[in-house]
């Protein structure tokens, strides 16, 4: 029996918590105080000010699952959702963040470690880098 969705989500959060990340709540799906955005469309939205340097978080390592909504863009045209089997309006985005803390080496080795530790059905993992 493979893991349930609830178990998978929990596993992700706990993995990064074990790497000293603080588990935070999802921001609301409706965005306030940002004229350029109507809905949260990525996990990083609520941390935008951290990246811009306007604010500093209590903990420089964060992890969460974020409620997101996308209804426009290349793969997110509302009229296409449901026609195929893998695009959605609302989705959850799991994410981990370093705010001026760790960088490429840790991020990549941890994502590899986590994926290797969960029993996945796929045969090959590919990486696309720039």
């Amino acid at each position: 029996m493979s893991m349930t969705a609830n178990e998978i989500r929990q596993k992700f959060l706990e993995f990064f918590a074990s790497k000293n990340h603080k588990i935070v709540n999802s921001a609301p799906i409706v965005v306030k105080d940002d004229p350029t955005l109507m809905f949260t469309n990525a996990g990083m939205n609520q941390f935008k000010d951290f990246f811009l340097g306007n604010q500093k978080p209590d903990n420089p390592r964060l992890v969460d699952t974020q409620k997101c909504l996308r209804v426009s863009g290349k793969h997110n045209d509302l009229e296409e959702v449901g026609v195929d089997t893998y695009h959605h309006t609302m989705f959850e985005m799991l994410g981990n963040w370093s705010i001026g803390d760790y960088f490429k080496a840790e991020a990549i080795s941890w994502s590899w470690e986590l994926l290797a530790s969960i029993q996945t059905g796929q045969k090959t993992t590919l990486c696309d880098c720039f």
Binding site: D33, M38, G53, M90, A107
Partner: protein
């Protein structure tokens, strides 16, 4: 790249390109290179044939991106150039739905336990089964299973369906789902709201905001569904009435159905194909893009880059304790063009100006640079930056500034904000604890408060709420403000939590009496409730399913409102001599008026009868037909028409021509029995034109009845006598 080489075989590394592997937040802002992890879910044979490397980012359904690691190191500026950020960050994102599909080894996201619960509930409700395929019915299952999530969680986060902005997006998603079950699952009643329970339970421990507001969310969805199903019904009827020439449905008509009636275009297409009509798609697209262009032009907004004045400063809000500050410095500014007007946005190192938030409008006031005074038109928050909107840039931005909030406006706003908290607590005690805040607007002159509540408030309830709030005002309860306390502490203290608010770790709690009102709030408040002075509810009404809106005002605005009322009552009283109370006086007056009206009607009827008899007596026989030509006074045209019909019925083959004056105009009215119309080929409509010549009038009508009016009153006798000459 080097990091990956340590971990995996180079065959599995793809050298990406700038398009796919450079991540940007938007046109401007933080950005950097990224490293995507893709999974290849194909069979061994397929992989042997084409290596996975060749299918990355090629939209292959089985070779998919799972996780993106972004290394943020630059800031993209408005001119397109990149600048290095002071610190480097990591931002990653992995779609849970895909990940679960891979781990649970399913072909489709919809086959994972994130969606199967909802899908089987849809099955149970519609009696149809999901076949995992591409039929319209299967698509409908997926559309519903997907859309109910977006709809439920957005409403739970405080966004109600509406006609603009985010609310309109939700309405569109909901309507798309309705269209699918209406057309392809043959379900004609509200369905979506019945899925909320399944979803709420599934997410109980992940996003508890849904289960906590379940009945509210269900109610809102059901009402939206109901009203759209009604729209569909009337649209279908409208389509039945539409005139179609040669099986070609005009693009403008399709657009009108879509735009005015909210009738979806694909449903129009479906029905058109059933009826073998072709749709003028080009015409529709044209109308649609014209409309889009109009709305784009309305919302166009351009922002320039920030011009940094000082690098090391932070932007701090000190407006809870200060209404003015000395030695303020400009940190940065930028230009903003909106609807062809130029503005400047300023960020200060410290500010007394409250930025719009929590329903409270932004402060206005003055910035004094040396001797130059600049008006602050509005203050807003963008993310956590406080932005002052001004209409020009000072000559010397480097100098220190004296910042002063418009104190009168701020004080008035504070009264209304504190009154809103008292109102909220009073509503919960009068109506029940199901009442939660659904919206709030706090202005200097009035306040607006939206709550979840399902019935209209009775007059007694409104009175009760007003009474409690005013009692609390008179108690002059001092403000207790706890800044920077942990969320948990506030929650334990019993503070009212709002759904859909982004709380930091530390919050601010506003208390007026420990046992009465405790809310998390970032707004500005009075030091003691006595400052509010007086509270008055102006109106109560529905704004959406299950949401009531209360408008109220305080202090001198409430005083003015009450005074205007009292003055009006005094003025009304002065019309009456007796002193038995205004209500009694007015109801007596209404009774008397009713009595008089009946009396007048009675007399009019008698008058009409007398005239009818006189007319009947004046009838003469001319060439085998009964002819009446006469002037009538003191009757309106409607009564004269009725009289003419009655006479014609009673007397038989008649021609009646009546002259009368109405609203200062000469009028004639011609009535001819149908028998005479048939036997003598009369046509009243044609005849009246000739008859109206002496009054210089115009008119027309049918064969048996016509009327005309003109300015020459003296011409009426001539008009009447000219009839006989026309009779055969």
């Amino acid at each position: 790249m080097a990091e990956w080489r340590k971990l995996i075989h180079p065959d599995h590394i793809v050298f990406g390109n700038k398009k796919d592997n450079f991540w940007e937040m938007g046109e401007t802002g933080p950005c950097g290179p990224c490293s995507e992890i893709h999974f290849d879910l194909r069979s061994d044979e397929e992989i042997a044939e084409i290596p996975g490397k060749e299918l990355v980012n090629k939209d292959h359904p089985q070779v998919i991106e799972i996780w993106n690691n972004v290394f943020i190191q630059y800031n993209r500026k408005a001119d397109g150039s990149l600048e290095l950020l002071p610190a480097m960050h990591v931002d990653t994102g992995m779609g849970l739905e895909r990940l679960v599909r891979v781990i649970q080894n399913k072909k489709s996201n919809y086959d994972t336990d994130l969606f199967t619960g909802t899908i089987s509930k849809i099955s149970e409700l519609t009696g149809r089964s999901y076949q995992y395929g591409d039929t319209r019915q299967d698509i409908a299952f997926r559309v519903l299973a997907d859309h109910i999530r977006a709809i439920s969680f957005t409403i739970a986060d405080g966004q109600l369906p509406s006609n603009t902005g985010a609310g309109y997006v939700i309405r569109r998603i909901l309507r798309r789902a309705v269209r699918y079950y209406f057309s392809y699952l043959d379900y004609k009643e509200p369905l979506l709201f019945q899925l909320v329970n399944t979803l709420a339970k599934q997410f109980e421990f992940v996003f508890p905001e849904l289960i906590l507001q379940k009945s509210f969310v269900e109610r809102v969805i059901r009402e939206e569904e109901k009203s759209f199903l009604k729209t569909l019904d009337s649209g279908l009827r409208k389509l039945d009435e539409v005139k179609v020439q040669d099986g070609f449905l005009e693009g403008q008509t399709v657009f009108e159905l879509y735009d005015t009636y909210g009738f979806p275009i694909d449903l129009t297409r479906l029905i058109a194909s059933e009826k073998n009509w072709t749709i003028d798609e080009a015409g529709f697209e044209k109308a649609l893009s014209e409309q889009k262009e109009r709305s784009r032009a309305d919302s166009k907004r351009e922002t320039g880059d920030w011009v940094i004045v000082r690098n090391d400063e932070k932007s701090e809000f000190l407006g809870y304790d200060n209404l003015f500050l000395e030695d303020v410095l400009v940190v940065k500014y930028r230009f903003l063009k909106q609807k062809d007007k130029e503005f400047i946005q300023l960020v200060l190192n410290k500010t007394p100006f409250y930025p719009e938030g929590g329903g409270q409008i932004g402060d206005t006031g003055l910035l004094i640079f040396d001797h130059e005074v600049i008006q602050v038109l509005d203050t807003k928050k963008e993310n956590d930056l406080i932005i002052h909107l001004v209409d020009r840039i000072p000559d010397n931005v480097e100098t220190s500034v004296f910042a002063e909030v418009n104190m009168v406006k701020r004080k008035e706003t504070e009264r209304n904000h504190s009154a809103t908290h008292l109102l909220h607590a009073a509503l919960r005690s009068v109506l029940g604890s199901h009442v939660t805040q659904k919206g709030s607007l706090v202005r200097p002159d009035y306040l607006r408060f939206d709550i979840s509540h399902f019935q209209k408030m009775t007059n007694e309830e409104i009175k009760q709420v007003e009474k409690i709030v005013n009692e609390r005002i008179r108690q002059n309860i001092p403000l207790q403000e706890s800044r920077n306390i942990p969320v948990k502490e506030a929650q334990d203290a019993g503070a009212m939590m709002l759904f859909g608010e982004k709380y930091g770790d530390k919050v601010r709690m506003i208390t007026f009496d420990d046992s009465f009102s405790k809310e998390l709030c970032g707004g500005c408040h009075v030091k003691g409730t006595g400052e509010i002075g007086l509270f008055k509810i102006l109106s109560e009404g529905a704004i959406a399913a299950g949401v009531r809106r209360i408008e109220a005002c305080t202090a001198q605005y409430a005083e003015e409102y009450v005074r205007d009322f009292v003055e009006e009552v005094h003025a009304s009283k002065s019309f009456f001599k007796s002193n038995q109370g205004l209500t009694k006086n007015i109801s007596d007056l209404i009774d008397e008026n009713q009595k008089l009206k009946k009396e007048v009607e009675k007399w009019m009827l008698q008058h009409a009868n007398i005239i009818k008899q006189t007319l009947a007596k004046s009838a003469e026989v001319y060439r085998d037909q009964i002819v009446i030509t006469s002037m009538v006074e003191n009757l309106d045209s409607k009564t004269i028409k009725t009289l003419s019909y009655q006479l014609e019925k009673e007397l038989g083959d008649t021609i009646i021509l009546i002259g009368f004056v109405e609203n200062g105009k000469a009028n004639i009215m011609l009535t001819i029995s149908e028998k005479l119309v048939a036997s003598k080929q009369y046509h009243a409509g044609n005849m009246i034109k000739q008859l109206a010549a002496p009054i210089q009038g115009g008119g027309g009508g049918q064969a048996f009845f016509a009327s005309a009016g003109g300015p020459v009153l003296e011409g009426l006798p001539a008009a009447l006598t000219s009839l006989k000459a026309m009779l055969v």
